[in-house]
Structure formats: structure tokens, C-alpha cells
Symmetry: C2
Subunit: 340 residues, 2 copies
């Protein structure tokens, strides 16, 4: 690979001149610029990024961090859309993405990840930060690497989906339809801040409707999977056969729940209303189409990346909370018999 030195020799100037011409420093004659550029052209010179990184401290590399807390992280629709949004921004600005998926434990992210952060390899970081277990951003903060959190992690710059507003809208839709015998299918909330927020929304609306959230039938041993949605629906309906609605913490569990209740001979929404959260592709295709919350995940990625570039630009961007959108489809309807 040609180096600056070779270009300089060919152009008959010094190394520094080549470097400066390439970075558009003023005070060079057109003649010199031309000589340099044609030498660059002829040799096909491209800068060695490692050398540039070492010398300038800038790598043009953005770390995109998705903590690996469960299997199949890249099949998580949230992750997909966020990645999509970040990629678009980075590509437009000539930055590359370093994808990191640290394993998390109670004493923090794994060694490989910590090494990466300290390595001076990353100009900035966008991290999904929703796990109370441990933050992937605190090491970055310590090193003063510009970083944006997506989620509820404790970080000055963040982008969040408004889970409280989303779950509130979802639950209001359910209570508004007249449901009072409501089951909740969810996961252990200690795993996820955003799940905690969703629970909070459900709780508040339930209380407003005169229901005691704590005493609502609940299955909270789900793991986001379709299978766990099936298990949860089976468990709940066995114990409480008068439920008229199941509120699920995500779409996959809702789709599992629908399949399960159909298997049990119930019709959705005629016999029972089922709603989810996320608005994944399958939810629109499924029959009945699922009533759910669209959290506009691509926007999360976009805004996070924009915020990061603002930080790199020494600006002072405001954190963002992105509102969600209720998608009412076929899986929700008023209860057959109101038990108001």
C-alpha cells in the first residue's frame, strides 16, 4: 500500500504538504495541490486508518453497543430498526460502525468490551442501555468518550421511547373498551427499565379504572418468546376462566397467546381481546391482526446517531423522548359480557 511518503516523493513535496493538502489546509498554490492530487490519484493512495487514529486520536468509528442479554439479539425487531437508523446516519457522514455485543454480568460488561472502550478505537458510542444489571456506558463516561444511550440508563444524553405513554395508551384502549377482567402476560421487570415503565403505565390506568393492578391476574415468567406467550396464556386462563382481555408486554408473546387461546377453542377478539407491544411485521400479517403499540424504533436509531454527531461537533443536544403510536387492529374489541 502506498504511503504518504511515496506520494510525497512522487509529487516532489514534503510529507507534511501532502497531509495538509489532503485535509484542505489553506495556503497552498493550485499548482502544488494539483501535483499532490495527481500523485495520490496515480498511486491510488488511501490513508492508513490505524496510523491516523494513533496520531490524531480520531478513527471515524462509531461503537454501536447492544448488550447481549438474551439469545437472538439481531432478530429483535427493536435492534434491527435501531441499527437501520444508525447506519443511515453514519453512512451519510462517512463513519463506520463497530458493532459490539458485550456479555453482561453483575460486575459489568465483559473484558473484551472494556478493552475496546479504553482502546482509543472509538470516536463515539451509541448504546442500548435498558438493563439495570449493569451499564455499558459508565466505562465510556469515565473515559469521556462521547456517548448516547438508547433507553433509561443513567446517562446525560439519551433517546427514549415513551414507554409510559405507550403502555398508558394501550391500557386505556383496553379499559375504554369496557374490559375489567384483564390478565397481564409479561416478563421479570428487573431485567429491563423499559418494561418497568410499561408496567407503571398499566398500573396507573388500571387504578384510574378502579382496578387494583397488583391483584390483576399476572404471568410474569415470560421471556419475550412466542412459546412463553403460549405458556402464559394457558396458565392464566386455566386459573381465571373469566378473563376478557390479555395485555402482553410484547408482540411475540401476544402472538403466542392468540395461538394458545385459539387452540383452547376461544375466538379473538370475540371471546377474548389480546394486545401486544412493538408492532413487529408478523403482527400486521397475523390473523387476527394484532392491536399493538408502534414505538417507532427506526426513529430511535436516527435520533441517537444525530445526537452523537452533535456531541462530536461539540454541540449540546437535548435528550429526546419519542412518542409511540397505538395501532388498533382486529385483536381487540369490547368484552362480550361487561362485568363492570
Amino acid at each position: 500500500m502506498p504511503t504518504l511518503a511515496e506520494v510525497a516523493e512522487k509529487a516532489g513535496v514534503s510529507i507534511a504538504t501532502v497531509s495538509k493538502v489532503l485535509s484542505n489546509t489553506p495556503y497552498f498554490t493550485e499548482e502544488t495541490r494539483r501535483k499532490v492530487m495527481s500523485a495520490v490519484e496515480e498511486l491510488g493512495y488511501l490513508p492508513n486508518l490505524a496510523a491516523r487514529a494513533l496520531s490524531s486520536g480520531k478513527t471515524h468509528l462509531i461503537g454501536v453497543v447492544f448488550p447481549y442479554v438474551y439469545e437472538g439479539i439481531f432478530t429483535d425487531p427493536l435492534v434491527q430498526y435501531i441499527l437501520e437508523g444508525i447506519e443511515a446516519e453514519c453512512n451519510a457522514r462517512g463513519y463506520n460502525i463497530l458493532l459490539s455485543t458485550p456479555r453482561l454480568s453483575a460486575d459489568g460488561p465483559d473484558e473484551n468490551y472494556r478493552r475496546l472502550l479504553q482502546s482509543s478505537y472509538l470516536d463515539g458510542i451509541v448504546a442500548l442501555d435498558n438493563v439495570p444489571l449493569s451499564s455499558v456506558l459508565s466505562p465510556a463516561l469515565r473515559k469521556n468518550t462521547p456517548a448516547v444511550a438508547i433507553g433509561y440508563g443513567d446517562h446525560p444524553n439519551y433517546v427514549r421511547s415513551d414507554d409510559l405513554q405507550g403502555s398508558t395508551a394501550l391500557m386505556e384502549h383496553i379499559t375504554g373498551l369496557g374490559h375489567r377482567r384483564i390478565g397481564i402476560l409479561t416478563v421479570d421487570e428487573s431485567l429491563h427499565y423499559s418494561i418497568q415503565m410499561r408496567h407503571l403505565g398499566l398500573d396507573q390506568v388500571a387504578e384510574e379504572a378502579g382496578l387494583n393492578y397488583v391483584h390483576l391476574p399476572k404471568y410474569d415468567r415470560g421471556d419475550f418468546s412466542i412459546a412463553s406467550g403460549m405458556r402464559g396464556a394457558a396458565a392464566l386462563l386455566e386459573q381465571y376462566d373469566d378473563l376478557t382481555a390479555l395485555v402482553c408486554i410484547n408482540d411475540r408473546m401476544a402472538l403466542g397467546a392468540i395461538q394458545q387461546v385459539q387452540k383452547m377453542g376461544l375466538k379473538v377478539p370475540d371471546d377474548i381481546t389480546i394486545v401486544g407491544y412493538d408492532d413487529i411485521l408478523s403482527s400486521q400479517l397475523f390473523s387476527p391482526a394484532l392491536t399493538t403499540i408502534d414505538q417507532r424504533a427506526p426513529e430511535l436509531g436516527h435520533q441517537a446517531a444525530q445526537m452523537l454527531f452533535a456531541l462530536l461537533n461539540n454541540e449540546n443536544p437535548d435528550s429526546v423522548v419519542i412518542p409511540t403510536q397505538l395501532r388498533v387492529r382486529e385483536s381487540s374489541a369490547p368484552p362480550k359480557v361487561s362485568r363492570q
Copy 2:
């Protein structure tokens, strides 16, 4: 950030000693090793990767390249699963992933990508290489960067899904059920080698069944999307109302086709058989569940990454072709009236 020099000073040895102890070079006393390690510990030393890269030429960075040929690349299930497989391998070996999504045009991938390749930033590359338009790997080959292609691109080291075998199995399933009036929903094959292979398989089986593939009703202006599947099914059935089966080049188009024919008052599979290719999540959930081909995409990623690490190890791995699996579900059945 602490450097080798600071560690060396603290440990009372030379920089070289620290470097060598850390890389497990032989010939040091336990005493020296201990002194070095405790200094490293105390200072929290972590190597500067840029410096290491410049000096040694090794970055521990693997480029994962997905050419951006259509919107929503990360929502492509193939991409997701491949990424998942690669990530698992890389993480296990302490390598990081640099995700690159070059824009492709007839005169090759974009400048940003070429710069990346030449930058000495990547120890190796795994690239999705299925686009005849231009190869993302030829620049890598020129620079002698170890690389593995996933797909049919012209590259010595590759991992492929056996599209020929898959499409053959799919078409044999259809003809075996007795279908003869078969419509094809597909995309422009000049865009994708793997699509060409799938067409070839359909062609061969059609001929064996005494059908002339070229004259089979065809809609080839699809773009993989659900919407284009709907359009295609509508167009085809309007012109040929006696079709008993629709073979779709991917699942999303198949799901669109099913929705369209249902909207037209037809039942699947009673009135018409519809099959897809990919086995995405929605295909199992959809009602009727879709008969399709599982190309075992996670395996593609796994094998590709393993092959790359073998190359980095100076081994001489064999290229791999991964067989697919036919998943017979509810959307296919014998034709109502055989027109044999």
C-alpha cells in the same frame, strides 16, 4: 489512559519487557511477571488498539460487509441470522465486528468502503456476495486481505446455501402434489445470483415434469416485499384464472400473495397452493402456515466466520455448500382438479 511506558516505570522494567510479558513471550522470571502484572492491574492498563494495529498490522477487527442493494437491509431475515452466526464466532475469539454496508453501483462499491479496505484496519472480511452488479470482494482480494464470501460471488473461499437443491425440492413438492398450472412470483434475476440459482432449480424440475418453464405464467417485477407479492398474485390470477399453484421466490412475497388471493375469495390451499422461500418467523405464524424452504441462515454465518478464522490461521479451509430443508406446512395441497 495509562500507556506501556507508565506501566514499565511503575514495574521498574523496560517497555519491551511489559509488552512481552503481556503477550506471553517466554524467558521471564515469575518475579518479573508478577511485578509487571501488578503494575498493569494497579494502573488499569489496557492496550491502545490503534497503536497496536499500526505496529503489528493486526487490529482484531473483522469486516462484515452487507452491500446495500435495497431498503431495510437489517430487517432482511437472512442478514439477521448471518450476523447472529458471525457475531457468536467473533465474540468467542475476542474479535470485534466492523459492520460495513457499502452502496453498490456499476463501477463498484462506494469510496468510503474502498478506503476502509485499503486502510489496514481489517484483519479479515466476511461479505454477502450475491450481486452480479459488482463484487465487494475484488478490492479485498487485490490487497490480499483474508476474505470469505457468502454467496455466489467469484471468490476462492465461500459459503453458500444450496439454492439449486432448495428450489428443486420446493418445485418437486409442487409437481409431486400434482400441480401443472403453476405461476411464478419472482424478482429480476439479474439482481441476485442466488435468485438465478433458484430459477434454475424451478426450471429443471418443471422440464422434468413435462412443463415448459419459460412459458409458465410469471410475474418478475417483484421486489421481495409483501406488497409486490400482492400485486404479483393479482396480476397473475387476472390473466390466468386456472392456476392451481403459486411459487414465490421468497416468503414475504408469498405472504402477500396469500393475502391477495384470500381477498379475491380464494382459499389456500383448497383453491390454490402457495409456497415461499426463506422460512421467516411470520411464515410459521401465518394462517395458513406457509410451506417454504429453510435455508438455515445462522449456519451460513457460523461457517463463514469459522472459515475466516481458519484463513487467519493460515489453514486452507474448504468452501462449503449448506443444504436446505423443505418445510411442508398448511399452504400447499394437491390441486382440486388435476389438469394433468
